[in-house]
Amino acid sequence: MTAASYLTEQRGLRSWLFTLDHKRIGVMYLWSTLLAFFLGGVLAMLIRLELLTPTRTLMDADTYNKVFTLHGAVMIFLFIIPSIPAALGNFVLPLLLGARDVAFPRLNLASYYLYVLGALMALASMITGGIDTGWTFYTPYSTSTGGAVNLVTLAVFVLGFSSIFTGVNFIATTHKLRAPGMSWFRMPLFVWGMYATAIIQILATPVLGITVLLLFLERVFGVGIFDPKLGGDPVLFQHFFWFYSHPAVYIMILPGMAIISEVIPVFSRRPIFGYRAIAFSSVAIAGVSFLVWGHHMFVSGQSVLASALFSFLTFLVAIPSAVKVFNWVATMYKGSIWLQAPMIYAIMFLLLFAIGGLTGLFLGSLATDVHLHDTYFVVAHFHYVMMGGVFIAFLAGLHYWWPKMFGRMYSERWSRIAAALVFVGFNTTFLAQFVMGSRGMPRRYYNYLPEFQPLHVVSTVGSWILALGLVITAGYLLASLRKRPDAPPNPWGGMTLEWQTSSPPPTHNFETVPVVDHGPYDFPPLEAEEELAGRRA
C-alpha cells in the first residue's frame, strides 16, 4: 500500500477515542459488538449446559433466570441491533455512496459512546444483583421483582438513543451525500436496506425509550399505568413493548437481507434479479412492520378483534420477505457462482432464513399460535431468524468486507471448515428445539419433564459444535490481522464504490470524488470474467 490508510494515518489511543472518521467508529463498534456477542455466547452455553439434565445441573433457578435474561438482553440490545448497521454499516455506507463521511460525524461518535455507556450500565447489573425479568420486562413481574432492573431499564433507554443517532445519520447521509451520478436506483441494495432500517430505528425506538422510562418510573414512583394494583393495565405494557420490539426484529433482519443482496450478485457475477422489487420490499417491510406487533399477544388477553387484525397484517409481511428470497435465488440462475466464504454464508442464510420465515407462519396463524406460543418452537423460530438469519448474514458481510476493513485476506480453507461446523451445529441445536416446542415444552423453564431430556441433550451437543465453529472463525480472522496487508483493492470483483478505493481506504475514503455512471451490479460480460479467473488462478 502506498498512501497511509485510515488505520495508519494517525496512531495512538487518543486518535481512536476522539475520531470522527466513520470507518474508525465502525471498527470500534465492530470490536465492541463482537465482545458483546462473545459474552452473550458464553451465557448461551451456560443455558444449554444447565438444560442437559431435567433438574439442577450447575446453577440454581435464580441464577438460571438471570443468565437467560442477560443472554437475551445482551444479544439483542448489545449485539444484533447495532452489529450490522452501526459496525458494518457505519464502515461501508459512506463508501458505497461515494461520500467522505456520514452526515453528522460527531453524532456518530456520540452514538458509539452512548452504546458504551449503555453496555456498561447493563453489564453493571451483573454485579449489582442481576436481573431476572426476561429481556421482555413484562409487568407486573418486572415492577415487583428485586435486583438491578432500574439500572437495566435506564441502560436500554441510553442504548435506544445510540440506535436513533445511527438511524438519523444514515437517512441524512443517504439523502444528501450521494456521489455525483448516484441516483436512487443506482444505490447498492445495502443502502436501501440500511435506509429502511433507519426509518424503523427512528420511528420505533422512541417508544421503547418511553416504555422503559415508564417502567422505571413505575418502580420508583408507582405511576400506576402498568400496575394492576393501582388501576393500570399490564397488557398495555405489552403493547408498548412490542410496538418497538416487533419492528426491532426488522431493525435486525433488514440489514442482514441488505448484506445478502450485495453478496449474491457479486459472487454470482449477475445483476441482481428484480432490483426494484428488492429495494421496495425493504421499505414495504419497514412500513408493515409497524402494524403487526400484536401477534406476540394472541393469548395475552388482547381482544379477539385485535388479534384477528394483527394476524392478518402479519401475513402481509410474509409477501415481501418471500419476494426477496425468490429474487436472490433467481439471481444465481445462469450466473458464475464463486463459492468463497461470503457466498457460502449467503447461501446458508437462504436456507436457514427460509426455515425461520416459514415457521413464522405457524406463529402468525391464530389457532396454531395458541398451542405454540411461549414454547421452544418460538425459541427455535426466532433463533433461526436472528442467528440463522441476521448472524449468518453478519458473518457473510464480515467476510465480504474484512479485506476492505483491514487490508488482509483470511484463510479460505479454515473458513470452509468453520462454516460447515456452524451449519451443522446450528441446525442440531435448534431443530431439536422445534420438536420440543411443538410437543409442548415451554420456554424459560429451569426444570423440565424427563421425557424432553433426549432432545435437550441433542440441542446442547449441537451448541458445542456451533461454538467450535465460531472459535475457529475468530481464530483465522484474528490470525489474518497478524499478516502483512495483502488484500487487493477489489478481491471479489465488485462493482460498487467501496471497491474502487484502496484496501484499507484512505482517511477521506476516495482520492478523487467518484462519479457514478453505472448500476451497482453491472458486471462486465462473463467471458472477460472467466478470463480474469483463469489469470488469477
Partner: protein, 313 residues
C-alpha cells in the same frame, strides 16, 4: 405416519386438537415444500453454474414482471387461506358454549387453585367430566401466568387485573398435564398441575365426596399427599435445600429466627399459623411471598400436614 405425529405433536385430548392439528400439518407440508424448493434450486444453480465450469450461460434477465407477480401472488393466496383457517380455530376457542361447566381458576406463585360450582377447592388438580364443555374463568393473585394444556391445544394468559377465560371439551378419560407458560419467577417451571378427565358419574361422585382427598389414609401419609398436591414442595424442600421458603427438614421443635430478630419454637401452633396466616411471622432471610391456605385446607388436612412435617427429621 403415526410415529411422525407423535414426534411433533402431543396426544390429542380435546376437540380443539381436530381443528389445530390439520392446520399444523398443512403448515409442516408447506414449510417442507418451500424449503426443498429453495434448497433444490440453490443446489442446482451452484452445481450447474459454478465458476469456471463451461456451460452456456447466455444473458439471464434482470427482471421478469410476470414471474415476479406469480411468486408474489401465490404466497399471498396461501397466507390468506392460512389466516382464515387459523382464525376459524381461534374463534371457536374464544367463544365457550352457553352450557359450559364453569370452574374458577386462581393462579398464584407457584400453584393453580380451582374452585368448582359446589364450592369445593383443589390445588394443582383439576378434575373434569369427559365430553362436556368446561369453561375456566381465571385470575391471578400476583403476576401474569399462562394456563397451558399441550394435549388440549389451549393456552391463555392469566392476568392480575381482570378475568380471562378459556374452554375445552375433553374427548376421552385420561390424565393431562397443565403447565405455566408465562415466565413468573423462580418456581415458574415447577408451576405444574394435572387435569384428570373422568366419566360424568365419577366426576359427580368425586364432587359429592368433597374431593375425597386421602380418605382413610394415616395422617402423615395424607400430609405427604397434601405436600405434593397443594404445591408446598415448590417452595419447601425435604432434604434441606434452600428454595423460596425454608426446608421442612428438621425444623419441627427447633427455634426459628424471624426477621426482626425474635425467635420462636417451630411447634404445632407456629406451623398452623404459618399455613393459615403466612405473613404473621417471616423466617429471617426469606421474602413474605407465601399465599394463605385459609379455606383451602380443613382441620384434618392441616393436622395431617403438621404430622408430616414432624416426621421430616
Amino acid at each position: 405416519m403415526d410415529w411422525l405425529r407423535n414426534l411433533l405433536m402431543p396426544p390429542r385430548g380435546s376437540t380443539f386438537a381436530d381443528q389445530v392439528d390439520p392446520l399444523f400439518w398443512f403448515l409442516v407440508g408447506l414449510t417442507a415444500f418451500f424449503f426443498l424448493l429453495i434448497a433444490g434450486l440453490c443446489g442446482w444453480f451452484i452445481l450447474r453454474y459454478r465458476r469456471g465450469r463451461a456451460v452456456r450461460r447466455g444473458v439471464a434477465p434482470t427482471h421478469n414482471t410476470a414471474l415476479e407477480l406469480v411468486w408474489s401472488l401465490i404466497p399471498l393466496a396461501l397466507v390468506i387461506v392460512i389466516f382464515f383457517w387459523g382464525f376459524h380455530g381461534y374463534i371457536s376457542a374464544a367463544v365457550p358454549p352457553a352450557d359450559a361447566l364453569e370452574i374458577k381458576v386462581l393462579a398464584k406463585r407457584w400453584l393453580w387453585q380451582f374452585e368448582y360450582p359446589s364450592g369445593l377447592r383443589t390445588v394443582n388438580d383439576l378434575r373434569v367430566p369427559v365430553g362436556k364443555p368446561v369453561k375456566l374463568v381465571m385470575i391471578s393473585e400476583d403476576v401474569i401466568h399462562s394456563f397451558y394444556v399441550p394435549s388440549f391445544r389451549i393456552k391463555h394468559d392469566v392476568l392480575p387485573s381482570r378475568y380471562t377465560q378459556v374452554w375445552f371439551e375433553a374427548t376421552e378419560p385420561g390424565v393431562h398435564r397443565l403447565l405455566c407458560t408465562e415466565y413468573c419467577g423462580r418456581g415458574h417451571s415447577d408451576m405444574l398441575g394435572t387435569i384428570q378427565v373422568v366419566s360424568a358419574e365419577e366426576y359427580q361422585k368425586w364432587l359429592d365426596s368433597g374431593g375425597g382427598l386421602g380418605e382413610g389414609l394415616p395422617p402423615a401419609e395424607l400430609g405427604r399427599l397434601i405436600y405434593t398436591q397443594y404445591g408446598c414442595e415448590v417452595c419447601h424442600s425435604l432434604d434441606g435445600t434452600r428454595k423460596e421458603g425454608p426446608s421442612f427438614r428438621g425444623i419441627f421443635g427447633k427455634p426459628v429466627l424471624l426477621t426482626g430478630g425474635q425467635t420462636v419454637i417451630a411447634d404445632e401452633n407456629y406451623i398452623r399459623e404459618s399455613i393459615l396466616n403466612p405473613q404473621a411471622k417471616i423466617v429471617a432471610g426469606y421474602q413474605p411471598v407465601m399465599p394463605t391456605f385459609q379455606g383451602l385446607l380443613n382441620e384434618r388436612q392441616i393436622n395431617a400436614l403438621i404430622e408430616f412435617i414432624k416426621e421430616q427429621k
